[in-house]
């Protein structure tokens, strides 16, 4: 018999070979293949232990615990703590069996880890009428979103908790089960649904799951990750001149209900672009004028919009050209002087001669105001000739590719104001806020900024002052440092109007603090009390410690408003150095100068 001969060549005595051949004869190839995995797993757990126990005393018994099973990742989504309890239980049991296990709460789980997970246990409860617990919502939505990854490399099983008196019994567990399978993951053992009295069912599932892991262990490596589509750039190098059209993956107004502000967090897809950026870089984004404004300009000039005009992108209708190729807001000096040239208006001429008057005139006005105040019969060609070409708006990038990979994140403050009797809005921010949604595309390029970079030495302390959208690059900094094993201390100063609604990325900062990625944070909310508090006040309150950080080599970063904030921060910094260093104002200025020369004082202000 082939089988027996084969076995005899193996490390078995005759008796063992006999028994094995009896046991194995008649099995088909599928069964044998299954067994090969089973034995591989077995060899690394129970049999190894038996063998180790029988080793003569004095030999290295630490071998017993070295089981080369794949690590099990246990993910729980818990509202009342039951799922968490079961997750801990599974964790303990796995470790007892010598299988490595890692446990995470869905609430704080980083989805990028999915890539490196081979075995996943999902333990989740169901709430209300078939909804996931709030703690699991993000992860749940992620798996059901466009961003969900291919999970062909992953084996999983779901333990679902619920209450059978509800119609949608264990619905969330069922949903997880279905979506994981849809994403290509394979079931280790079938899902187990548990009722209120879950102890026994949960235990059975746990046993089945762990046994299956041990048994299929040998096969896991055989499950190959399917090749993902190759991210070749097709030879195209995207740049300022050759814009990439990025799809909007996520768009969230970060300000809570009742806020006086509107700040949008955007996630854009760079997949296939080959675009690389670093924390501190900015992203140029092209917006488009609102149809309402374009229409008003056409009405005021008595043009239809259907006229064909020549643009740097070729011939287009006037309507499209006004929408995509030219700026209608704000009014620029060049447009004003071109218009004066054309109309010969004396009043405007005078304004053009006075620098202060120009600034005053331009402030809050757009081309429509100008046309309405000084009417002139413009041809379509003339209209285009006075307008400034559409330029990109720059936003400090709020992400690091080490973490978000093929994405880039932005933080955009939406500009809206009323001036000269009309509600007005920022060209690009309103495009993103009002006219583009998830799934739409936007033209972008990366603008490198070598003057705003994390210290080369990742263990150097950093102080980050970033109120409002100024906090964006510091989120990128934290993401960059998050993946480092050794990192220096970091300190964030953040400010905005109201604590309850305007604390941008609040939960992320809290998490970074918890994980020690961020060492310290101080916040100032200007409108929560009668006295207005700003970031510089927090700096001054912490002057002693801030100076100590500088003395220890901290790098100081400031990002955000240039007109007022950056100046106030600079003054506060000087004051701190003067007071804490016990030196003259001149010496303090010199100290700051030295910081700048050694690249330890960097500003990204606008």
């Amino acid at each position: 018999m082939e089988l027996k001969k084969g076995l005899e060549r193996g490390p078995f005595n005759d008796d063992q070979a006999d028994k094995l051949s009896v046991a194995l004869s008649g099995l088909d190839s599928g069964q044998l293949q299954w067994l090969s995995g089973y034995f591989a797993g077995l060899s690394q757990t129970s049999l190894t232990k038996t063998a180790a126990k029988s080793l003569p005393s004095g030999s290295d018994s630490t071998l017993v615990d070295e089981v080369k099973a794949e690590t099990i990742h246990i993910l729980f989504g818990s509202h009342t703590g039951n799922s968490e309890g079961l997750a801990k239980n599974l964790h303990a049991r796995a470790e007892e069996m010598g299988i490595k296990a890692v446990i995470s709460d869905m609430a704080t789980f980083k989805t990028r880890e999915l890539k490196s997970i081979k075995i996943l246990a999902v333990i989740v409860s169901t709430h209300g009428l078939g909804e996931p617990p709030v703690q699991a919502e993000d992860f749940f939505n992620y798996l059901h979103s466009k961003k969900a990854p291919n999970l062909a490399h992953l084996q999983f099983s779901v333990l679902a908790l619920g209450d059978s008196s509800y119609v949608d019994f264990c619905q969330t567990g069922k949903d997880f089960d279905a979506v994981l399978e849809k994403l290509g993951a394979q079931k280790v053992v079938p899902r187990q649904d548990c009722d209120v009295d879950y102890a026994d069912e949960a235990k059975t599932w746990q046993q089945k799951f762990l046994n299956a892991i041990v048994q299929t262990n040998g096969q896991i490596s055989a499950v190959q990750v399917k090749d993902l589509p190759n991210n070749l750039v097709n030879g195209t190098q995207y740049s300022r001149k050759n814009l990439f059209e990025a799809t909007i993956l996520e768009k969230i107004n970060l300000n809570g209900k009742g806020s006086s502000k509107e700040t949008i967090h955007l996630e854009l897809d760079l997949e296939g672009s080959g675009i690389k950026y670093e924390p501190g870089d900015a992203l140029g984004v092209y917006g488009a004028n609102s149809p309402k404004l374009v229409q008003s300009v056409l009405e005021s000039t008595n043009l239809s919009g259907k006229e064909e005009v020549e643009t740097h992108e070729g011939n287009k209708t006037l309507y499209d050209a006004l929408t995509y190729n030219y700026e209608l807001t704000p009014l620029s000096k060049s447009t004003l002087s071109e218009y004066v040239e054309l109309t010969g208006n004396n009043g405007l001429k005078k304004i053009l001669e006075d620098k202060v008057a120009i600034q005053e005139y331009l402030s809050g006005r757009d081309i429509l105001d100008l046309i309405n105040e000084v009417p002139y019969k413009l041809s379509s060609k003339e209209l285009i000739s006075v307008l400034r070409k559409n330029t990109a708006r720059m936003y400090s990038i709020a992400s690091a590719q080490e973490v978000v990979e093929d994405e880039v994140h932005l933080l955009v403050s939406v500009v809206r104001y009323n001036a000269f009797g009309r509600n007005k809005e920022g060209l690009c921010s309103s495009t993103l806020a009002d006219r583009l949604e998830v799934g739409d595309k936007v033209k972008i390029f990366v603008d490198k900024n070598t003057r705003f970079k994390l210290p080369k030495n990742s263990e150097a302390p950093i102080i980050m002052v970033g109120p409002g959208t100024g906090v964006a690059p510091f989120r990128a900094f934290m993401q960059q440092r998050e993946v480092l094993e050794r990192k220096g201390p970091s300190w964030l100063f953040f400010g905005d109007r109201n604590f309850t609604t305007d604390f941008l990325y609040q939960t992320e900062w809290q998490q970074y603090l918890k994980e020690g990625v961020l060492t310290k944070a101080d916040v100032a909310f200007s409108r929560d009390q009668v006295q207005k508090h700003y970031v510089q006040h927090r700096m001054l309150e912490n002057g002693k410690e801030l100076f100590e950080w500088l003395e220890k080599g901290a790098h100081f970063y400031v990002c955000g408003d240039a007109k007022k904030m950056a100046k106030d921060v600079d003054i506060a910094l000087k004051q701190i150095i003067q007071q804490q260093g016990g030196i003259t104002i001149e010496k303090a200025e010199e100290y700051i100068k030295n910081l700048q020369i050694s690249n330890r004082y960097q500003a990204d202000i606008y």
């Binding site: 008196s165 309850t500 939960t507």
Partner: protein, 566 residues
């Protein structure tokens, strides 16, 4: 402690109490942390003893999570007033506070307390300070201690009310925690060096769970005496308080899916003369302190301590500790656990006006300007304000000459006659539930009024619009509005779904029984319509709805009847 557990077996809450240094924890530091509107998790538990629950706006939960904002944490602050009586000055101060720091409303609770909702962490200290400035307090309005002592608020019936009300206050004060933590944290009092904290009754770890006391003056059971850990029924002879029937082991909270938890009425175990009442109350609390379950908080009320060992054991333990025996309970009779509305003249010849406050929420709504009306009344009122156990308000001790003026204010602000005050609405109670209560599975206060609108159509069609049927709704089985004592009781299961219970008595001495589970509004109306129609047609004279559904075997009577030891 006979059931002394090893440290590991104690519940998490016991550990927190143990290391809290007499309820201090790190509350001071938590209040100062500017990065979160929440407290440290341990302090969330400890702050209950100081009179506050950390909550968050559940309506905004998902939205804020997506916005990368933490939940909108906010605090409920509960203010105690013994027997639920406050002065006009105190009322004005509470009214103002609710506008400055709260959500602009005041909730009158089912246990004669005031609640503010929506207070942000940064305003918590000034709120509690302001409460103390008008000689009210928030101390021990929550937590594992004795809570404020309830007492029938209506003095018109009997000359002994004043005496009983005073006693309620004294018992309430007597069982307050003695730690000075409250004064240090909220009132900036320095701890006197070399004076160690000492809790003569509660010891270091306080009670295993909350403890509730109420005093009822028959025939009124508006405070639901049997729903308390310790109930005292006043026994009067010759117009004097002779003593009290002692009831132990009441508590209506339960947990879905946990069989060992259930609503239970207090058993009447005996009579004690009035001079012994402190001694008895203290001993009952001490037994619970020593024998209550400290490993599972779901099973830790006095009712569990008694059911685990038997009522007979409890009585014996009590008598052993007292060194004397209780007498047999005296007879008593309760007529109703509801409120009587409108003008009533007290035996002191002053007037009392009981005002319907829908689910205890004092606020201005369209033409029904309740909050403004009460503010204006407080400005001229020389008497007091009294909270009932049914979330209503009595404007008390009004001089004959002031009656007209107060009535004019009520009329001016549109609150003299509630536009929809039917018998059903009058007898309704609902807890806060969504959006602030962290325990709620379903709506209660925000929903019951509209359900009653629909039920009233059925009642009217059957000629029952004036009939008072106790209807009570809670958002979860913790049962703050004592829905187990509703002739119709609803307990929230999920948003829009309720368990419906029927058949409690009209005077609070019989629990209701489960009728059907997981009913939607449509189901509720469909189920109740024929029952109400039958009640209208087939009821006996004076027969209450709760009694009717039992007689007609629409539900089985409760498996846990009240016991009276004789």
């Amino acid at each position: 402690m006979d059931n002394k557990l090893n440290y590991k077996e104690l519940s998490e809450d016991e550990h927190i109490k143990d290391k809290s240094d007499f309820l201090r924890g790190s509350i001071k530091a938590s209040l100062k942390n500017p990065l979160t509107g929440a407290l440290h998790p341990d302090d969330v538990m400890l702050i209950k003893y100081h009179g506050s629950y950390q909550q968050y706006d559940r309506d905004l939960e998902s939205e804020r999570k997506q916005k990368k904002l933490e939940p909108l944490f906010q605090f409920m602050v509960r203010v105690r007033a013994a027997g639920g009586i406050t002065t006009p000055e105190q009322w004005l101060s509470l009214d103002e506070l609710s506008d400055i720091h709260g959500n602009g409303t005041i909730k009158l609770t089912t246990r004669q307390s005031f609640q503010f909702h929506g207070i942000l962490k940064r305003n918590l200290k000034s709120t509690i300070q302001a409460v103390n400035e008008v000689l009210l307090s928030t101390l021990a309005t929550c937590g594992d201690v004795n809570r404020n002592v309830m007492c029938n608020p209506n003095p018109y019936q009997s000359p002994i009310h004043e005496e009983v009300y005073k006693l309620a206050g004294e018992i309430s004060d007597y069982f307050l925690p003695k730690t000075t933590a409250y004064h240090e944290i909220w009132l900036d009092k320095e701890k006197v060096a070399g004076t160690p904290d000492f809790e003569p009754l509660y010891h270091n770890n306080y009670l295993p769970r909350k403890f509730k006391i109420a005093i009822a003056i028959p025939p009124n059971n508006d405070i639901d005496v049997f729903a308390n850990d310790l109930g005292l029924i006043v026994i009067v002879e010759n117009n004097k308080v002779k003593g009290f029937n002692i009831c132990v082991g009441g508590g209506l909270g339960s947990t879905f899916g946990v069989q060992e938890t259930y609503p239970r009425l207090a058993d009447v175990i005996g009579f004690v003369p009035k001079e012994k009442v402190f001694e008895v109350a203290e001993t009952v609390i001490a037994i619970q302190r020593d024998h209550g379950n400290r490993s599972d908080r779901k099973l830790s009320r006095l009712k569990h301590t008694i059911d685990d060992r038997g009522l007979e054991w409890f009585v014996e333990e009590l008598q052993n500790r007292l060194g004397w025996n209780l007498s047999k309970p005296k007879s008593y009779h309760f007529k109703s656990n509801g409120d009587e509305y409108g003008w009533l003249k007290g035996i002191n010849n002053k007037w009392f006006y009981t005002l319907f406050v829908e689910h205890g929420r004092v606020r201005d709504e369209n033409d029904y300007q309740l909050k403004k009306a009460l503010r204006e009344i407080a400005k001229i009122h020389t008497g007091d304000f009294r909270l009932t156990g049914n979330q209503n308000l009595i404007i008390g001790n009004i001089e004959e000459d002031d009656k007209e003026g107060i009535e004019a204010i009520l009329a001016l602000y549109g609150v003299k006659n509630h536009p929809k005050l039917t018998g059903l609405r009058k007898s309704s109670m609902a807890c806060v539930a969504l959006n602030t209560c962290g325990l709620a599975f379903a709506e209660a206060e925000r929903y019951l009024p509209s359900l009653i609108d629909k039920l009233d159509v059925i009642m009217r069609n059957n000629g029952l619009e004036k009939d008072e049927i106790n209807i009570r709704m809670t958002g979860c089985p913790n049962n703050c509005t004592r829905s187990s004592l509703g002739e119709i009781g609803f307990v929230g299961r999920a948003v829009g779904r309720y368990n419906m219970y029927l058949g409690a008595s009209h005077n609070g001495d019989r629990l209701n029984s489960l009728y059907k589970e997981m009913l939607s509004e449509e189901d509720i109306l469909r189920e109740l319509e024929p029952i109400i129609a039958a009640y209208s047609k087939d009821r006996l004279e004076e027969e209450h709805f709760g009694d009717f559904v039992i007689r007609k075997e629409i539900v089985e009577p409760t498996q846990r009847p009240l016991r009276v030891l004789n």
